[in-house]
């Protein structure tokens, strides 16, 4: 009985962890390319889910068309955000960047509230909801979709960053912006790309988790924060460490909620965040950062 319970928690934790991993990678990509932590990342996740809803209901598109539609619109939102809020910033001090991304996230959230109201909405699961038994635990087909799509997204990421010119250019920017500029890389365009990729990934994350947890205008805050937590655990890398970070976070949160108390579920994630920030801010896998004064 006990083991089955733990297995159940662990499995559902894995799939929430996958979502956190996707969001976390989004954070890392922007951070690596620009040094900015995009507090609005969670809002793109929210947009993905809600836009899919609208595409399904208003435009009456079938699921396989609604998803790319939603991702596309979220990406456009990401581009607008970068153009209007980030690029024109005159004094990019950390405080200003934090404030402006928070302001942007509030703005996006507010607009979403106007358009979709405050209710939660449900999106139909991708392939039905008959549970599948694994060991003594059950998972839903949607969990498999989440894990599968996350895996595919990460592979695509890997291929893009390591085997295409523009991906390598983005990595160059993250190592040293000035040097990258000197060898002819258009840093501003890389910044734009990073936002495009992150908002697209965020939207995908939002879409695949929406059938499980419903979606509403304010899901972005929590998801964004926990995605950030995953990114921190992984040391802000856009690769496998953040994925592991996300999975660890998801499983720990799920186990904690199940075994200790479900009201404190969110608190557990944040306590983990605080612990990591206090003890090992470079993440479990990162190298310590040194600062030039």
């Amino acid at each position: 009985m006990q083991f089955d319970q733990i297995l159940q928690y662990a499995l559902s934790g894995l799939s929430t962890g996958a979502i956190y991993a996707l969001i976390g990678i989004g954070f890392s990509i922007i951070y690596n390319a620009t040094g900015i932590i995009n507090f609005a990342q969670g809002e793109f996740v929210m947009l993905g889910g809600l836009l899919t809803l609208s595409s399904l209901e208003l435009l009456k598109l079938p699921l396989w068309a609604a998803i790319p539609c939603a991702v596309a619109v979220s990406t456009v939102a990401g581009i607008l955000f970068e153009r209007l809020a980030i690029r024109p910033l005159r004094q990019p001090t950390p405080i200003n960047l934090v404030i402006i991304t928070i302001g942007g996230s509030i703005l996006i959230r507010g607009l979403a509230m106007l358009v979709w109201g405050k209710d939660t909405h449900a999106i139909p699961p991708f392939s039905g909801d008959t549970p599948i038994a694994i060991g003594g635990a059950t998972i839903l087909p949607q969990h498999l979709w989440i894990l599968g799509i996350t895996l595919v997204t990460i592979l695509i990421n890997k291929v893009y960053f390591y085997h295409t010119i523009s991906g390598k250019a983005m990595r160059a920017c993250s190592y040293n912006r000035r040097a990258a500029g000197l060898v002819g890389i258009d840093v501003k365009r890389m910044v734009l790309f990073s936002f495009i990729i992150s908002s697209a990934m965020g939207a995908v994350a939002g879409i695949i988790v929406a059938p499980l947890t419903m979606t509403a205008y304010d899901v972005g805050v929590m998801l964004g924060l926990k995605g950030f937590c995953a990114a921190i655990i992984g040391g802000m890398s856009s690769g496998i460490s953040t994925v592991i970070g996300g999975l660890i976070l998801g499983v720990l949160e799920s186990l904690g909620a199940g075994l200790i108390s479900s009201g404190y579920k969110d608190a557990i994630a944040f306590i983990i965040l605080l612990l990591i920030l206090f003890i090992r801010p470079q993440g479990l896998f990162g190298k310590a950062d040194s600062e030039r004064v």
Partner: protein, 307 residues
């Protein structure tokens, strides 16, 4: 820069209630400004300290029957110690990491308020908190509360102005500009940051206790992430590093919803828009932006006048 604000006398009614809030928010904004504007440390969880002050004071007076005048300092003391303890590890962080950590802290505190139902009454809130009494006067009406709150607020403003212009204030600004340089010059930045964090928390806690005793009812909803953002907006809009700016920001943001009565849900959009616009165009906040604007207009008029 001596700013003496004399609270004008309005004829009772709803406006008094709003002005009481302006006072409380000013206190909170100043507290956050000390940390953010002077010392340059971001905190997105200040609503947590506000709430802790309110709840501790409320619980001590209702469940344990303590005199409010004893409960308030007790609450402030606890919050100050807590902030000091947490401050040590948290203030090692910088920039975004500090922002996220304080955000997480604020949310953890909020969740604790919601979950510890036996103490706090959970989401339904805590009621029956007694009003303050002094020399036979019970502060149970808006007018009396107004004077009480603003008395404390003015005291806090004077204290902060004093602090800002003292050695401590200069040390804080040095830390803000360049922590390493400040350390080289002999400022113990680590202890200083923790001290200012604790001070900021204590002021917020005091504001919270006063809030509890004026409202006689508190609930976790007022102390969540949204309110932390509101405080941040007040400080940014008013002007970082300026006590009078905090007053402006607090006044603006407390009065604004009153003018937008029908648009209750839109306020969150306006905060977001204000934040973005202010950071882009007036990073110094209103307190510096408006005079600068006037100067620009005056200069242009001067030019066209002479041309």
């Amino acid at each position: 820069m001596l700013v003496i604000v004399a609270p004008p006398l309005f004829k009772g009614g709803y406006l008094m209630n709003v002005l009481v809030f302006v006072g409380i928010n000013t206190m909170l904004a100043i507290a956050l400004n000390l940390l953010l504007g002077y010392a340059g440390q971001i905190s997105l969880g200040h609503a947590g300290f506000f709430g802790l002050g309110a709840y501790l004071s409320g619980i001590l007076t209702t469940t344990y029957g303590l005199n409010p005048w004893a409960a308030m300092p007790a609450a402030a003391g606890v919050v100050g110690c807590l902030a000091g303890l947490i401050g040590f590890p948290i203030l090692k962080l910088k920039g975004h990491y500090l922002a996220m950590a304080t955000l997480g802290l604020g949310i953890i505190i909020y969740i604790v308020f919601n979950e510890t139902v036996e103490f706090t009454g959970g989401p339904s809130g805590l009621s029956g908190i007694p009003n303050l009494q002094l020399a036979g006067i019970t502060f149970d009406s808006d007018v009396k509360n107004y004077y009480l709150i603003w008395g404390v607020t003015l005291a806090v403003m004077l204290f902060s102005l004093n602090l800002a212009n003292s050695r401590v204030g200069r040390a804080l600004r040095a830390v803000h500009d360049s922590e390493v340089a400040a350390q080289v010059l002999g400022v113990n930045s680590r202890i200083l940051k923790v001290q200012i964090f604790a001070l900021s928390a204590v002021i917020s806690s005091l504001a919270g206790s006063l809030y509890a005793h004026t409202m006689t009812f508190i609930s976790p909803a007022s102390f969540g992430f949204n309110f932390s953002i509101e405080l941040l907006t007040m400080v940014v809009i008013g002007g970082l590093g300026s006590v009078f700016g905090s007053f402006l920001g607090a006044a603006l943001l407390t009065l604004l919803p009153e003018f937008l009565r029908g648009a209750n849900d839109y306020d969150i959009i306006i905060y977001g828009a204000l934040l973005v616009v202010m950071v882009m165009f007036m990073p110094g906040g209103l307190v510096r932006g408006i005079p600068a604007l006037f100067r620009k207009i005056a200069a242009r008029k001067g030019e066209t006048g002479h041309a």
